[in-house]
C-alpha cells in the first residue's frame, strides 16, 4: 500500500510538471507510513479527517487511485466530480481534504461527538500538521474533546516544517504531543509503519474504552516541498533530505524488515512494485483522458434544495441552474 501511495504521489508530481494537473498539489511522499499505518490501526467504520496533504489518506480510506488522479486533473471521474481538486478529496468516513489550516480540527472533534452519540464504538482520527498546531482553534477543540470525553484521536503529523518554517522557529514548544496539556500524548516514530500501527491501536483502544481523547505526534518527513511551487531546498539542505531518504525511508524500512525476517523475498517485493507501477500508469491514463465536468455543473451542489433554483452569473442575464 505504501508503494502505491509513493508511486501515486510521484506520478502526480510528473503530471503536475506536465501541466496536466494545475492549481495546488501537496504531496506526501515520505509520509506514507503515517497514512498506511493509521489505517491499519483502525477499522473502516472509524472516521478520519485531515488537512490538504490528503492524497495518501484518500487512498487508504478506500478511494481508487484512478479517481484520485482524475480529481487532481479536474475531470468528472474524480472523487469530487472534478470540483474539488487536490485539497478537497473525500471518501466514505473520510472527511477530506481541507484547505484552511487548522480548521479541520474542531470538525474532527464534532465527528467524534457524533461517534460517541451513536454509540457504535467508533473513533475519529483528527490530523493536522506542525504548522497548524499553533492555531487557536486546535486548543478550543482539545478543551471540548477533553471536557466531554470525546473519542477523538488528535494526530499531529510533524514533518518538521510548516511550509518553509522549521518547527524551532514557529513553536515555543516543539513537543507537540504535550500540547494537549490535559490530554495524554504519545510521541511516535512516523517513519516506521509498525510503530504507527501499534500506537494507533493503543490510541483507538484508549478512546473506545471511554477514557476520552488522546494525542499522537507522528514524527515524519516529506521529501517534496510544501507544494509543487516549493522546491523544498531553500529552507533545508539536500543532505538532510538525502539522509532521511537513506536512513528512515518508510518503504525501505519495512522492506528490510520483511526480508531480514524472511517474511518476503526480494523478488516478491519486486513483483509488488511492478504491479503498483502498472496500476498507477493505468490510473494516470484514465485521469488524463477523462473529460472535464460539463459547464452546467458549475452551479450544482451549492445548497440542498428541492426544486432546482437559479444561480446568478457574472451579470444579471447569466443564470445557472443549481441542482443537488
Amino acid at each position: 500500500m505504501m508503494q502505491t501511495v509513493r508511486r501515486m504521489e510521484l506520478k502526480a508530481d510528473q503530471l503536475y510538471k506536465q501541466k496536466i494537473i494545475r492549481g495546488f498539489c501537496h504531496l506526501c511522499d515520505g509520509q506514507e507510513a503515517c497514512c498506511v499505518g493509521l489505517e491499519a490501526g483502525i477499522n473502516p467504520t472509524d472516521h478520519l479527517i485531515t488537512s490538504y496533504r490528503a492524497h495518501g489518506f484518500t487512498f487508504t480510506r478506500g478511494m481508487p487511485v484512478r479517481e484520485i488522479l482524475a480529481e487532481l486533473t479536474g475531470r468528472k471521474g474524480g472523487c469530487a466530480k472534478g470540483k474539488g481538486g487536490s485539497m478537497h478529496m473525500y471518501a466514505k468516513n473520510f472527511y477530506g481534504g481541507n484547505g484552511i489550516v487548522g480548521a479541520q480540527v474542531p470538525l474532527g472533534a464534532g465527528v467524534a461527538l457524533a461517534c460517541k452519540y451513536n454509540g457504535k464504538d467508533e473513533v475519529c482520527l483528527t490530523l493536522y500538521g506542525d504548522g497548524a498546531a499553533n492555531q487557536g482553534q486546535i486548543f478550543e477543540a482539545y478543551n471540548m474533546a477533553a471536557l466531554w470525553k470525546l473519542p477523538c484521536i488528535f494526530i499531529c503529523e510533524n514533518n518538521r516544517y510548516g511550509m518553509g518554517t522549521s518547527v524551532e522557529r514557529a513553536a515555543a514548544s516543539t513537543d507537540y504531543y504535550k500540547r494537549g496539556d490535559f490530554i495524554p500524548g504519545l510521541r511516535v516514530d512516523g517513519m516506521d509503519i509498525l510503530c504507527v500501527r501499534e500506537a494507533t491501536k493503543f490510541a483507538a483502544d484508549h478512546c473506545r474504552s471511554g477514557k476520552g481523547p488522546i494525542l499522537m505526534e507522528l514524527q515524519t518527513y516529506r521529501y517534496h516541498g510544501h507544494s509543487m511551487s516549493d522546491p523544498g531546498v531553500s529552507y533545508r539542505t539536500r543532505e538532510e533530505i538525502q539522509e532521511v531518504r537513506s536512513k528512515s525511508d518508510p518503504i525501505m524500512l519495512l522492506k528490510d524488515r520483511m526480508v531480514n525476517n524472511n517474511l518476503a523475498s526480494v523478488e516478491e517485493l519486486k513483483e509488488i512494485d511492478v504491479e503498483v507501477r502498472k496500476e498507477i500508469e493505468d490510473a494516470a491514463q484514465f485521469a488524463t483522458a477523462d473529460p472535464e465536468p460539463p459547464l452546467e455543473e458549475l452551479g450544482y451542489h451549492i445548497y440542498s434544495s428541492d426544486p432546482p433554483f437559479e444561480v446568478r452569473g457574472a451579470n444579471q442575464w447569466i443564470k445557472f441552474k443549481s441542482i443537488s
Binding site: H88, V101, G131, A289, L295, Q316
Partner: protein
C-alpha cells in the same frame, strides 16, 4: 460593487460596473468556449499555457514626486514598507513568512535592513496576528500585519470587526488602533481555486470603523499603502496578487500619498459609467475601448480605490444618478464558491462586462 444606472435627458448615462479583479485563462482567440475542448483533441492533449483575461495598462509616468524607478506591484509594496520603516521608528512589519521576504516577495530585504525585532515572523495564527497587531497599535506603535492570503483573513474577522473597528468608538476616543494596517494578497490568479482566490472586501464593507483599500497598479499601491499606514484608522489593504508581477510602472522612490476615500476618474465619458477596483479596472478599460469602437458609446471609467468609506460623490453625480435610463447592473463572479476547474467561466471578463453594457444600452 458594480453599478449600472441610466440618466434621462440629453445625456444618456448608463452605469455598468465590474467587481473583482479576476483572472481568466484564454485559449488562442480568447473565447471562453475554447477552454472546453476535450483533452484528447488532436495531438495537443496537454493544456496550453493560458493568457490573462486582462491587459495591465500602466498610467503615464509622473515626476510630481521626484525620481521614479521601474517597479512591479510587489516592489512598490516593498518600497512603501521601506519608506515607512525608515521614517517611523515605531513601525514593525510581521506576518507569516515575512522575514525571508514573503511568499510574494513583498518584504524582501527589510529584515536585513531594519533588524529582526522590526521585521519578524509570526506562527500560523491569523486571529493571533491581528489581535497582536491591534495590541501594538493601541500602544501607539505602527503595526503593519500581513495575512498571507485574503482567504485566510476569516479567523481574524472577529478581531477586525469587533475589536479593531470599534476601539475608538467604544473607548470614547481614549484609545484607538489607528496605526494598524493589515495587508493581504487578494483576488483571483488563474489557479487559486477556493482558498487562494477570494476577494473578501465585501464582508468588511459593512463595518464602520475600518477602511478597506484596493489598488490597481504599482504607483497607486505605494501611494495608497503609505496613506493607509499613516491614516489614523485601522486599514485593510488588499493587493491584487495577479498584478504582483504582471503590473510594471514607473514609481517614485520617495514616499508619497494618494488620498483615501477618493475615487479616480480614469477616463471621462458621457454615456455609461463603469466602476471597478483592483485588477478589474484594467478589464473595464478594455471594455470602454470596445464600447467606443463597436458601439460608439462613450464610457466613463472610475477606479473606486477605497471600498469603505467610499467616494459616493464621484460615483453618483447627483443630477445624473437621479436621471438614470437603465437600472444599475452588477457584473461579478457567480454566486458559487470560487471554483477550481471552472474558474475561466466564473470570472467577469471583458466579454461578460461588454455584454452587460450592450444590454444596458438597449434597455
Amino acid at each position: 460593487m458594480a453599478a449600472v444606472t441610466a440618466t434621462a435627458g440629453w445625456l444618456l448615462r448608463l452605469r455598468v460596473a465590474g467587481i473583482r479583479g479576476q483572472w481568466r485563462r484564454l485559449h488562442g482567440a480568447g473565447q471562453a468556449r475554447a477552454f472546453l475542448r476535450p483533452a484528447s483533441a488532436g495531438g495537443d492533449a496537454v493544456q496550453r499555457r493560458q493568457v490573462a483575461h486582462f491587459t495591465f495598462q500602466p498610467d503615464p509616468e509622473t515626476h510630481e514626486y521626484g525620481q521614479t524607478q521601474k517597479m512591479n506591484l510587489f516592489q512598490a509594496v516593498t518600497s512603501a514598507l521601506d519608506n515607512s520603516l525608515a521614517r517611523d521608528p515605531t513601525a514593525v512589519v510581521f506576518g507569516e513568512d515575512v522575514a525571508f521576504g514573503g511568499v510574494f516577495r513583498c518584504t524582501v530585504g527589510l529584515r536585513d535592513k531594519y533588524g529582526k525585532d522590526r521585521v519578524f515572523n509570526t506562527p500560523l495564527c491569523e486571529q493571533g496576528i491581528v489581535g497582536f497587531g491591534i495590541g501594538i497599535a493601541v500602544t501607539g506603535a505602527t503595526a503593519i500585519a500581513e495575512i498571507q492570503f485574503a482567504d485566510y483573513i476569516f479567523p481574524a474577522f472577529d478581531q477586525i470587526v469587533n475589536e479593531a473597528a470599534k476601539y475608538r468608538y467604544r473607548s470614547g476616543d481614549l484609545f484607538n488602533c489607528g496605526s494598524l494596517t493589515i495587508r493581504s494578497p487578494w483576488g483571483c490568479v488563474g489557479h487559486g481555486a477556493l482558498y487562494h482566490s477570494q476577494s473578501p472586501e465585501a464582508f468588511f464593507a459593512h463595518c464602520p470603523g475600518i477602511k478597506v483599500v484596493v489598488p490597481r497598479s504599482p504607483f497607486q499601491a505605494k501611494g495608497l499603502l503609505l496613506s493607509c499606514i499613516e491614516d489614523k484608522n485601522p486599514c485593510i489593504f488588499f493587493e491584487p496578487k495577479i498584478l504582483y508581477r504582471a503590473a510594471v510602472e514607473q514609481v517614485p522612490v520617495e514616499p508619497y500619498k494618494i488620498p483615501l476615500s477618493q475615487a479616480e476618474v480614469i477616463q471621462e465619458g458621457s454615456d455609461v459609467t463603469l466602476v471597478a477596483w483592483g485588477t478589474q479596472v484594467h478589464v473595464i478599460r478594455e471594455v470602454a475601448a470596445m464600447a467606443q469602437e463597436k458601439l460608439g458609446v462613450s464610457c466613463e471609467v472610475i477606479d473606486l480605490r477605497t471600498i469603505i468609506p467610499w467616494d459616493v460623490d464621484t460615483v453618483c453625480k447627483e443630477e445624473c444618478f437621479l436621471n438614470l435610463e437603465a437600472p444599475i447592473s452588477r457584473v461579478c463572479g457567480y454566486d458559487t464558491p470560487f471554483p477550481h476547474i471552472f474558474e475561466p467561466f466564473y470570472i467577469p471578463d471583458k466579454w461578460k462586462c461588454y455584454d452587460a453594457l450592450r444590454k444596458m444600452i438597449n434597455y
